[in-house]
Symmetry: C2
Subunit: 309 residues, 2 copies
Amino acid sequence: MILTVTLNTALDITYRVSGLRPHTTHRVTDVLERPGGKGLNVARVLAALGHEVTATGFAGGVTGKVVQDQLTRVPGVVDALVPISGTTRRTVAVVDTRTGDTTQLNEPGPVVTPAEWNAFLEVYDGLLASASAVALCGSLPQGVPVGAYAGLVRAARAAGVPVLLDTSGEPLRRGVAARPDLITPNVDELAELTGSHDPLTAVRDARRRGARSIIASLGPEGLLALTPEGRWRATPPTRLHGNPTGAGDSTTAGLLSGLTHQLPWPERLSRALALSMATVLAPGAGEFDRGAYEEWVGRVVVRGEVNAA
Amino acid sequence: MILTVTLNTALDITYRVSGLRPHTTHRVTDVLERPGGKGLNVARVLAALGHEVTATGFAGGVTGKVVQDQLTRVPGVVDALVPISGTTRRTVAVVDTRTGDTTQLNEPGPVVTPAEWNAFLEVYDGLLASASAVALCGSLPQGVPVGAYAGLVRAARAAGVPVLLDTSGEPLRRGVAARPDLITPNVDELAELTGSHDPLTAVRDARRRGARSIIASLGPEGLLALTPEGRWRATPPTRLHGNPTGAGDSTTAGLLSGLTHQLPWPERLSRALALSMATVLAPGAGEFDRGAYEEWVGRVVVRGEVNAA
């Protein structure tokens, strides 16, 4: 199975309103609730692709229970979230149906205790034994040490499990130094990590810092890949307008899917980019338009060069 | 006990953010959750004044459970909410800590089935037997007939229980025709009911339509009372700035408290207005600043005349 780690899970709530005007009262026309946090989005996309996935991380309180109830209803996903005494955060996305724009309100979330963190580490080590790959995704909740991902990367490497790290800021900086197999930053995260706003320079710098492979998301320009096997650029077959929330998580899912199927890099990149685009057409993160995905996966243009053996 | 009816209960969530800007992402600095819906606010204020209160209405789903869990922790309040298969709505108040302004997002709420409505009517009739007064508060959920309050008013009158009606629009229009003992509209609700924007004209019209007594809230100008015993005007001792959410519910609670203590009208009005002002100083609806209340209750100016016997 593929293991996804979401330390800062969320209950993602989407409200649709006709015209958001601050300091007035709005009737919400439509309410959508989904398990949230990057790793749970990755898990749902992987499961929809037919993979067996186990999702771990933390869940607590009433919202944590809703997240777990919804997660267990997704075929192919095994819930291995570790209970905490705090309450899982909510995120509220207010979609203005007149403009299509989204206003986001993110709760601060719970504080994880040292005992809960130790309980997670034990669960994580146990799950690694049967994992074909592991994805470490998203921000860290309060109480979890900032070097947490570095430790989780090292444990995965010690267990011989390929490890993907998708986070930002100091947790990314420290995690990269522990030599993950793959990181999937966007251009902002890459610039913050390396100090360079030139993607080509920045991915090279990220490799020197410890990442074995880097797949950088260039937004509507596609993906830039620097790996030990070569370097590639994947370009979208078309331009899209829509809600990009979760597109990056679908990129991560596509890369993990390609990794476990041992596809060559260009095919992994096509899968990742097509999934990310098909998510822009879907109602929310963790979902994708299957017809669009199947149409686009063969139409992504991947150009690059294989390194000399 | 005093019975409060809240057919459209809610879980009221308050988010504090530093500067609300549409189409951007906000970190919520503070999250507050409270049982909501006008009748539950009235119940909490009455309980804080030392009354025994029973709260009925509807509750369902995860949010309904949170509402009930919180309600049972309020000393003096007995939870008699009737279960429904739908999920109790949430309301989200986003307070901009820079300006103090509030942006409100109200979920549509559940649909009540005919069987659930009948179950409520049975519970209501049973509770009337031991009620010293009943307050019918707030909007109607989907599925409840628009004439619902008229029926509840008639049932209370048949049981000899004084009945207060605090709603708006068509449910108010129909409810008033069933001759409630007291209505507590604000100037907008009164104008909608009577077609008159002059409060004095409007309260007289409301009496002709069936309300025995009318206590109209004039906002910062205080209260206007027209009753069989006389008419009065209650004026605040000071001007306040703050969040007026729930001020009207505290007015209702003050009037019910004075009714069950059989106070003369001027004292009921002082209590109601001082409570309403003390709620403006509190974090939210259903709460009040006790020190401010105790200071102000003796300083409200009530002028008027008693009718000739």
